[in-house]
Symmetry: C2
Subunit: 330 residues, 2 copies
């Protein structure tokens, strides 16, 4: 609109019109200067320049529209903030936390874990019931969590454990997490992956697991991470998945898992017989959880994260800078 005004105005005569136009620009820059640089109020400027306050409003708006006023944020980590905001807007996340990484080739897990620990420390409140998955990232975040006694905290494992004893048992995350806040931990006393659908049904129906799952309906927060499907990923390493199964899942389109529910890059749970052998909370059930926190990052999880973002629509995403860029580019 203003641009049209300009051209219409300009085709008049020469000298006076030009000078009036200059005067307009002069006034605009002057108003912008006094407002943004000197910090005067619009009323003051209006009085000084001898025009109405409304005119100042218009001049300032025009100056901003023309880009004559440039506002930049100059602070450490501001690029992270920009990325975070981009993620939030793109994926409908309430809050994204990005851990800075110094070297793009590094494993981002420690950084993500630290960020996750900080976040969890701040968000925990008395009376909370938290559901958790497990994995290396979550486990690594334990030392970063500022534990303190909070009344009535309950932590529920959303996924079965592993049989194999290991030095670091990621599956114990829920337990240790509960301890940090003096709360009760509810583990799923079962493998994440059992031999057959029948075993699964038996466990669920006749061994008390259903009760634990029922508690998942009342969760205040769920802490989840995704697994990739490469050979390095926890799922594979802890021995739950054979190479044949892995291939078969990949062939079926899987790019990773969310509580051992294998998903594709579009956020769909793939159709595969292994589903009937997994002991984990239903993903649709988690949708009712008000705070869904997705904590993951790393080169081999980009596709899985993309899917997970669609599938569970997390309210909070904690990942690293490099992964964030990949998610936004993809």
């Amino acid at each position: 609109m203003r641009g049209q005004d300009k051209s219409q105005t300009r085709k008049k005569v020469g000298a006076e019109q030009v000078s009036l136009s200059d005067a307009g620009q002069r006034l605009r820059i002057r108003a912008a200067w006094m407002y943004f640089i000197e910090g005067k109020t619009q009323s003051e400027i209006a009085d000084t320049l001898g025009v109405g306050r409304v005119t100042i409003v218009r001049l300032l708006a025009e100056a901003r529209r023309r880009g004559e006023v440039r506002i930049t944020i100059d602070a450490p980590l501001v690029e992270l903030t920009e990325l975070e905001r981009a993620l939030e807007c793109r994926f409908g996340i309430e809050q994204a936390f990005l851990a800075p990484v110094s070297d793009a080739g590094d494993d981002p897990t420690p950084a993500i874990a630290a960020a996750a620990g900080t976040f969890i420390s701040q968000v925990m409140r008395p009376g909370m019931t938290v559901g958790t998955g497990w994995g290396r990232t979550l486990y690594t975040s334990l030392p970063h969590i500022h534990g303190r006694i909070l009344d009535d905290v309950r932590v529920i494992s959303l996924l079965g454990g592993i049989a194999q004893a290991r030095r670091f048992n990621p599956a114990e995350f829920a337990w240790q997490f509960a301890e940090l806040f003096g709360g009760d931990g509810y583990l799923l006393p079962a493998p994440a992956l059992v031999d057959s659908p029948e075993t699964r049904q038996a466990l669920l129906e006749r061994c008390g697991l259903a009760e634990v799952f029922a508690m998942a309906d009342g969760l205040d927060m769920a802490l989840l991470s995704v697994g990739g499907i490469s050979r390095q990923t926890t799922t594979y390493r802890v021995g739950h998945l054979s190479e044949a199964e892995r291939r078969s899942l990949i062939d079926a389109g899987a790019v990773g898992d969310l509580l051992y529910n294998f998903i594709d890059a579009d956020g769909r749970v793939i159709d595969h017989p292994i589903n009937a052998r997994v002991i984990s909370v239903d993903l649709p059930r988690l949708q009712k959880t008000p705070q869904r926190v997705l904590i993951s990052g790393g080169r081999d999880k980009h596709a899985a994260l993309t899917g997970a973002l669609t599938l569970i629509a997390p309210t909070v995403l904690i990942t690293d800078e490099v992964t964030a860029r990949a998610l936004l580019d993809g």
Copy 2:
């Protein structure tokens, strides 16, 4: 205050405190980003970040105080605006107009004249009574004045004329100026400089000049310029001033003149016999004029301008970029 807070806060423990401090910074940058870059309102940001709106106010103020938010005006002529504002603040001027000069060595008179013409064109209103000096700058501004018929305009010459006929008679400025607006011009039918105090008295008291001066009490605006005291200045060139007089004035401390009232750099009218022979309005009288416009520039007038700024405290100053810098530096 905040700095003290910081130091007091920091001396607590390590990890948590650092992370809380980081969280504060994170929140601040995030608020600044959402406010200044994304243009959200403070309420929206408060809701998104889960804090009170007042906190956002504080975060934004803190970010600005720390200089994390940088606002720059990026437009042509913005440096001029900055200079103008500096002049206004330093010398208590309502409005300074600076003409841009391409080459610092050039004579700035044409540029100043153009700016003066634009200003005068805009400021003229029906019913105005304007007092004027004369000089090359004012005369040169005539072609830049957008003349139009305004009711009841009166233009009064504040200074006597020159005897010598010249191709361009600067002393006729008042007359030509009045014509541009269809108003009445009142020239002082007398030389600016007469031979003796007695002649001056005779003219004032018995030749009707006093009446013209009396009109100067009701001026709405005075257009003034200063003269330097170099050999090139109008005062000297039109033959009013002999070389001996010029020397004598310089010895007495004169750096230039304002309506042939010779002044020093501190803005005092110097004590000199020539004063008793000048036919001009008293400078103190001009102080009552609501709009005092000082129009001058050029290398040889810096000192005179400095004095004039003090002496008549103009409400409007029209000069050039180079002179402006000199005034601010001096």
